[in-house]
Structure formats: structure tokens, C-alpha cells
């Protein structure tokens, strides 16, 4: 495959309080084997060489497991390839001469820090309200002292796969965080360790989700379609069951 030349339309915004705009760029010599973020690295090197301000974007592991990368690429969070985070999207999925629009994840609780980087600490505050189990510290307990069935472990893991990237919020027409919170509540519902704090967890995490200003879930299901970990909206239904169980006492 030959190297490509691409036209990019990228959201540039100086800081949280400045208005932003879409700025056109041309990036040459893009190898089809590059990841999307490597392509942006190439563009940033060029910008830095020319004395410009490089484009700010979030990234960390670049292995698809940390949940740090974001970006809305051509109108879809994490791009058009299903089940992948932006860092795992490769340039071979684009054609020479393509125009690619790149925007940040947009939601009131995800304010832009600079350019394409947004502040997703709203998710951390939700987790702090109950996305954990309380255990006594000390020597490590025996791994198999509490038997857990294979089915329960699998279902818990399906929910626990969530890497908290926020693509669900970005894709939702209402900027709802229902899939994220649904996954984080669901993962404990299958495990005995999650039971003692189940009610408090559901109520407090949902309360915090609302306090952050995320929208209501209208059951469009766009979140599941963009989720790099294929978290199912069944987890949203499960969150609602947990909420009902906790609210009706």
C-alpha cells in the first residue's frame, strides 16, 4: 500500500473559556500501517517544526485498554471501525485524498481543556461514589475462598470490560452516561462481594451521574454501537433494576 495524503478538519480551542473552530490541515506521507494517533503525531511534528502550537489530544497506552484516547472521527466516537478505540484504528481504513473531521467528545460534563482533550473527571467522581467494594486490608485473602460460578464471573467481566473512555456519552444524542454507570454498577451485581453495598452503590452513583449534568437515557442504543468494549445496553436495564430494588424499600 502506498503512503497517503489526507485533509484534516480539526477542532482547535485555546482553552476551556475560548471559543473554538474547525481548522483545516494537510498531512502528507501517511503510512497505512500507522494508527490514527501516530498520524496525528506526524502532523504535530510538522506543526512544531513550523513553529506552531501542536494539537492537544489525549492518549496513553495506545493498546486499546486504558480508555484515555477519545476523538469523534467523521462523526463517530473512536471512528467508523466498530469495537476499537481510536488508538487501534489504523490509517488503512482511509483512502488517499480523504477529508477527515476530528472533534472532541462533546458533553456539558466533559468540558474541553484544549483542542481535542476533554476533562472526563466526572466519571472519576461517579466511581468515587460507589464504584468499588469495601474490604479490610491485611494479608491477601485466599483467591478461592468465595466460590463464584463461571457464568457469574463471565457476566461480571462483560460489564467490567468498560475502560471508561466516555465514547458512550459522546455518541449519545442526549449526552447520557447511562452505559458507563450501568456497566460500573452491573459488574458487582453478579459477585457476592458486591452485595453488601449494592443499594447504596446504585443510588449514590446515579445521584452523582445526575449531579454532573449528564442527560437522560432515551434508549437509542448509540452507546453500545460505539463502545470499544461492546458493553451491552442490557447493563443499562440492569442498572435500572438495581435502582428500583434500592429505591423501593
Amino acid at each position: 500500500m502506498k503512503n497517503m495524503t489526507l485533509k484534516l478538519l480539526i477542532w482547535r480551542q485555546k482553552d476551556a473559556n475560548s471559543p473554538g473552530e474547525m481548522v483545516p490541515y494537510t498531512v502528507e506521507n501517511v503510512s497505512p500501517h500507522m494508527s490514527f494517533l501516530e498520524m496525528l503525531d506526524v502532523l504535530n511534528e510538522k506543526i512544531i517544526k513550523e513553529g506552531g502550537d501542536p494539537i492537544e489530544f489525549d492518549n496513553d497506552c495506545r493498546e486499546g485498554i486504558c480508555g484515555m484516547c477519545s476523538l469523534v472521527i467523521n462523526g463517530i466516537p473512536h471512528g467508523t471501525q466498530h469495537r476499537t478505540a481510536t488508538c487501534q484504528l489504523h490509517m488503512r481504513h482511509f483512502k488517499d485524498g480523504d477529508t477527515i473531521t476530528i472533534e472532541p467528545f462533546r458533553a456539558k460534563p466533559f468540558p474541553v481543556i484544549k483542542d481535542l482533550a476533554v476533562d472526563r473527571s466526572a466519571f472519576d467522581r461517579i466511581i468515587a461514589k460507589g464504584g468499588y467494594i469495601s474490604v479490610n486490608t491485611g494479608s491477601a485473602p485466599d483467591a478461592n475462598s468465595i466460590p463464584i460460578s463461571k457464568e457469574a464471573a463471565d457476566l461480571a467481566m462483560d460489564a467490567a470490560e468498560c475502560i471508561g473512555c466516555g465514547a458512550c456519552v459522546a455518541a449519545c444524542p442526549n449526552a447520557s452516561a447511562a452505559l458507563f454507570v450501568g456497566a460500573k454498577i452491573s459488574q458487582y451485581t453478579f459477585l457476592p462481594q458486591g452485595k453488601p453495598e449494592a443499594k447504596r452503590r446504585a443510588l449514590r452513583m446515579i445521584e452523582q451521574m445526575d449531579a454532573e449534568g449528564f442527560g437522560n437515557c432515551s434508549n437509542h442504543g448509540e452507546c453500545e454501537a460505539v463502545c470499544p468494549k461492546e458493553i451491552s445496553i442490557l447493563n443499562i436495564a440492569r442498572m435500572r433494576r438495581e435502582f428500583l430494588k434500592a429505591a423501593i424499600r
Binding site: 477542532w11 472533534e103 474541553v112 434508549n219 448509540e222
Partner: protein
């Protein structure tokens, strides 16, 4: 939580959707009953008038049902409007480009237009009650019993093209509203499971189509044959 002086369960984003779901499903039961009742028109004038007379003669029971229905409509509409306005505020800066990621998304024209189809249905409801429930009172005698001649009022209303085709259009929009609304209500109540969700979704589409057809059948039949 416990520190609140009042119960906030139904003020949360999850709780509001539970109210939407319960009232919505109640309204679905109502429209199914209404549609089946309308079909008595096709049986004959006396059958139709007798059916409506039986309903009216329920007295206090009918009032009780009407009060619950009114409450369901009010809560469903109020919460629907407030949820939509809130959702708009959750993304103040719009995307320049945002499109559907495709399956397994269930975003459709139905799901994105719920507020518009809902508002049209609300306006329709007012006109509809004014035309029929509180419309002209004709009386007739069936089997020696004096009763309201709703059959005559129906024929009168559905002989004008504007009323007939306006009604037909709104009923098609009702179908769109239910196509998303039915399965969405189950999902909002947490009633979703890999074994049943596909069935509930299909049932929603089926109910939407059957209701739309059932409701447009009588007006069109009147318009083209009477």
C-alpha cells in the same frame, strides 16, 4: 439518599424514565382498547352505539379510569417535555458532524422524533376530545333504549377530507411513537434480557403497525364508502 427531606426517586434521570415507562405502557393498553372499540363501527351502526353506551353506563368506574388516564397523559407529557429540554442542555456545544454508528444501535427516525410525535399527539388529543367526547350530542334509539348516536357523529366528521386525512396522518405518527416507545418502556423498567429483548422489540413494531392500521381503517372506510 436518606438526608433528603423528600423522596427524590422519581426526580432522578433513571426515575423519570420509569415514570415515562409506566404511564406509557398504561396508555398503550388504552389505545389498544380504543382501537378495538372503534372496529365495532365496521360491524354496524347499532353495534357501535351499543358499545359506546355500555362504556358510558359504567358510571363511576369509567370516571375512575378517566382520572387515571388523564394523570397518565399529564405525567407522560410533562416528563417527556422536561426530559427533552434537559437533554438539550446536556450538550451545549453541538457537533459539526455526528452520525449513527449503525448496529447494534436502535436509533431510528422513531427514536429521535419522540418529542415531535408526542407533541402532535398531545395537540391531537385536545382536538379529538373536543370533536367526539365533548362533540355534538345526537341521540338514537337501539332496541328501545335511548343512547348517544356516536355513529352519526363519526360519519359526519370523517366525511370531510381535512379531518379524515389529518386523523390518518396523526395515527401514522402514533405508530412511529410506539415503535420506539413500546420496547423503550421495557428497557426503562429494566425489563431487558438477551432471551426476550428481541421479542419485545419485534412486538413493539407489530403493535405500532397494527394500531396504525386499526385506527386509520374506520375513517378511511367512512370517507370512501359513506
Amino acid at each position: 439518599m436518606a438526608s433528603k427531606p423528600y423522596d427524590t426517586t422519581f426526580l432522578t434521570t433513571v426515575g423519570k424514565k420509569i415514570v415515562m415507562a409506566i404511564t406509557g405502557l398504561f396508555l398503550v393498553i388504552f389505545v389498544v382498547e380504543h382501537m378495538l372499540g372503534n372496529l365495532f363501527f365496521l360491524v354496524g351502526a347499532d353495534a357501535y352505539n351499543e358499545y359506546s353506551h355500555k362504556l358510558l353506563s359504567l358510571g363511576p368506574l369509567l370516571w375512575a379510569i378517566e382520572i387515571v388516564l388523564l394523570a397518565a397523559f399529564v405525567f407522560h407529557a410533562f416528563y417527556g417535555i422536561s426530559i427533552t429540554l434537559y437533554n438539550k442542555s446536556a450538550r451545549p456545544e453541538k457537533y459539526k458532524q455526528l452520525r449513527s454508528a449503525g448496529k447494534p444501535s436502535r436509533k431510528t427516525i422513531s427514536s429521535t422524533t419522540m418529542i415531535y410525535t408526542g407533541l402532535i399527539l398531545l395537540i391531537f388529543l385536545v382536538i379529538h376530545l373536543k370533536s367526539f367526547k365533548y362533540g355534538t350530542y345526537y341521540s338514537t334509539v337501539v332496541n328501545g333504549v335511548e343512547m348517544r348516536d356516536l355513529h352519526r357523529l363519526m360519519v359526519e366528521k370523517f366525511s370531510t377530507p381535512l379531518y379524515t386525512f389529518g386523523y390518518v396522518a396523526v395515527m401514522i405518527l402514533l405508530g412511529f411513537h410506539l415503535r420506539h416507545g413500546f420496547w423503550s418502556a421495557f428497557q426503562s423498567l429494566g425489563a431487558n434480557h438477551p432471551r426476550y429483548s428481541a421479542g419485545i422489540y419485534t412486538l413493539g413494531v407489530f403493535i405500532a403497525i397494527i394500531l396504525a392500521i386499526g385506527f386509520v381503517a374506520v375513517p378511511l372506510w367512512i370517507y370512501f364508502t359513506q
